[in-house]
């Protein structure tokens, strides 16, 4: 059932035949720019010794933003993995909240400074708390959808993970469960072809993660994940299926990891200069900018203004978070059990 969407040559333009309103496209673009700007700032702070750990969404923005725009922000659940900065921004997390987590501040809404950065959570926004062991969120997404089915609601559970994570048993068990019960879940695999240093061919003997959908009797869709509109369209269809009671969809978003795995990694040890250069040609932001300009959906001035506003937002988020207090030592003992 694997359906490969037409991958437009050189990663420009968009494969989607869409009727998305120009204002919405600009919003998408804005979210992508914001994610990138925040991400880049985090690296700067890391290099300046102010943030001990960064893990990036760079290269995944289109996949995340396109998908999140297809969700209902008033009721759907997201279970994004650590690269999901683009996801959580669209779902309503603010730059300041992201920065509070980076600096492990007491007011960090995700964990109060307990977890590493990029372990997003907000009950209010139905962004579900994530751990570090990869793949555990996949059965959680199925369970959220099962509860939804039991309770008679029509919210969808959307979860993301890397292609390396598809090797975990929990990937298999979670998707199989959702498939058996035709649950409203969207499984988004953001395939950047590496799990830290391990390339896809050492991870699986298939070319596309979408081929795995057939093993569960659900649609497996492979999408150019650097094409935000194609991601939006694919996710919209999956959401429709889910809400109609037709069950889960596995979406493979083919993306690029524009950075090292994390601030603790040095990817030049295992990726050649040539490969890195080729990969940079697939920057989803440059691609969407080109598309918007070519279709006269945004002007140079508008883009410049947008970037300026975002830069200011990132500045003030950083300031606010840097000034915010760290957790008090005694709070170590809080919340072991709910009362």
């Amino acid at each position: 059932m694997a359906v490969s969407m037409k991958n437009t040559s050189q990663g420009v333009g968009s494969a989607a035949n869409t009727d998305i309103a120009p204002a919405v496209m600009r919003d998408m673009f804005r979210s992508m720019l914001l994610a990138r700007a925040l991400d880049e700032r985090m690296w700067l702070l890391n290099r300046a010794g102010k943030a001990p750990f960064v893990i990036s969404c760079q290269g995944h923005e289109a996949a995340q933003v396109g998908a999140a725009f297809a969700l209902d922000h008033t009721k759907d659940f997201t279970l994004p993995y650590y690269r999901g900065l683009g996801t959580v921004l669209v779902m309503g997390m603010t730059p300041a909240e992201v920065m509070l987590a980076l600096f492990a501040r007491a007011a960090d809404p995700s964990s109060g400074g307990r977890q590493m950065p990029a372990h997003y959570s907000s009950r209010r926004l139905r962004i579900v708390t994530q751990s570090s062991p990869v793949g555990t969120q996949i059965p959680h997404a199925a369970g959220i959808a099962l509860a939804e089915q039991i309770r008679g609601g029509d919210a969808v559970a959307w979860t993301s993970f890397g292609e390396g994570t598809t090797s975990q048993g929990d990937f298999h068990e979670g998707i199989n469960f959702a498939a058996v019960h035709q649950l409203p879940v969207i499984f988004q695999c953001e395939n950047n072809e590496y799990a830290i240093s391990v390339p896809q061919k050492m991870q699986m003997a298939v070319k596309s993660v979408a081929e795995r959908g057939a093993a569960y009797g659900i649609p497996g869709v492979s999408v150019d994940g650097t094409d935000v509109l194609a991601m939006y369209e694919a996710t919209r269809r999956a959401v429709e299926r889910a809400r109609a009671g037709d069950g889960p969809t596995l979406i493979e978003a083919r993306v690029v990891r524009l950075t090292a795995h994390s601030s603790d990694d040095n990817d030049r040890a295992y990726r050649s200069q040539q490969e890195l250069r080729a990969m940079r040609q697939h920057d989803p932001i440059a691609r969407f900018a080109t598309y918007l300009h070519e279709h006269d959906l945004i002007s140079e001035d508008e883009e410049r203004d947008m970037r300026q506003v975002i830069a200011a937002e990132v500045d003030s988020a950083t300031d606010l978070a840097e000034r915010a207090p760290l957790p008090e030592p005694e709070t170590l003992y809080d919340h072991v059990y709910a009362p």
């Binding site: 659940f77 960090d108 809404p109 995700s110 964990s111 109060g112 307990r114 977890q115 372990h119 959570s121 907000s122 009950r123 579900v128 708390t129 751990s131 062991p133 555990t136 996949i138 059965p139 959680h140 997404a141 199925a142 369970g143 959220i144 959808a145 099962l146 509860a147 939804e148 039991i150 309770r151 559970a157 048993g169 929990d170 068990e173 979670g174 199989n176 469960f177 058996v180 019960h181 809080d334 919340h335 072991v336 059990y337 709910a338 009362p339």
Partner: protein, 326 residues
Amino acid sequence: MPEINILEAIRQAIDEMMALDERVFVLGEDVGVRGGVFRVTEGLLDKYPGRVIDAPLAESGIVGACVGAAMNDTLPIAEIQFADFIAPAFNQIVQEAARIHYRSNGDWTMPLVIRAPYGGGIHGALYHSQSIEAFFAHVPGLKVVAPATPYDAKGLLKSAIENPNPVLFLEHKKTYRLIKGVVPDDDYRVPIGEADVKRPGEDLSVFAYGLMLHYCMEAARLLATEGVSVEVVDLRTLRPLDTGAILASVRRTSKALVVHEDNLTGGFGGEIAALIGEHAFEHLDAPVMRLGGPDVPAMPFAKPLEDAFMPSPAKIAAAMRRLAAY
């Protein structure tokens, strides 16, 4: 009030809670039409269609799905068919369920119950006889309950279902039909975290739970005929442990024996003995003794080997005598 056994008590608790709260549901292997391999959920599928769900054969998936469901306003009860098969779900229990409240700084709660039939003496061999409490009673964020009587089983299970934290509910298989008792008709609860003195005594304190509680009672009755007065404390909850009750008992009797069926070394008895040794040191007239299963991987199938493994009333009585004579 008629006597019922532990299995019936557990079924009643689930049934009544499902009737009380629509958010309660059961997920596990063979829990539906089959009513569970021990028949604990028998009849519930008919009464609560759609809320008693046969799961694929995948324990990590079962617990993982329940973890998710617990975050979307339901109250899941996961059944692990035999406690031995909880091992594939270790990650979901320890790293996920137990840590969700803490890691979200109190934002999310995890009202999840995991039922697991454990323990031996039922000819279950290496993989249908294990005791698993030590692995989980070590985990902050989890609660671990191990009742020994129908009254406690019913009251504790209801408390567990209502509790906003993940509770591992351990049911000793051999007690399922063996242990009977009177259970009131009203909708009572037994609070999690409280031990219960099942037999008051003067000369020494014995701490146990599950099947071993009954073996300790039997041994205590025997010792009484020999003039030794044994206090038997049913721990009932292993995490959080009722240290107050444990220390109070030892401070009175000055001698302590901890009994469990699980392998001795690294078993939960070590924690109890260490606590007593540290906090009742001045009151002790004898070393705190432990009686546990031997340090072999698990209980074998052949009867002579199974018997050699299981702590018995006779072995417990012998330990009591040694302690009393110290």
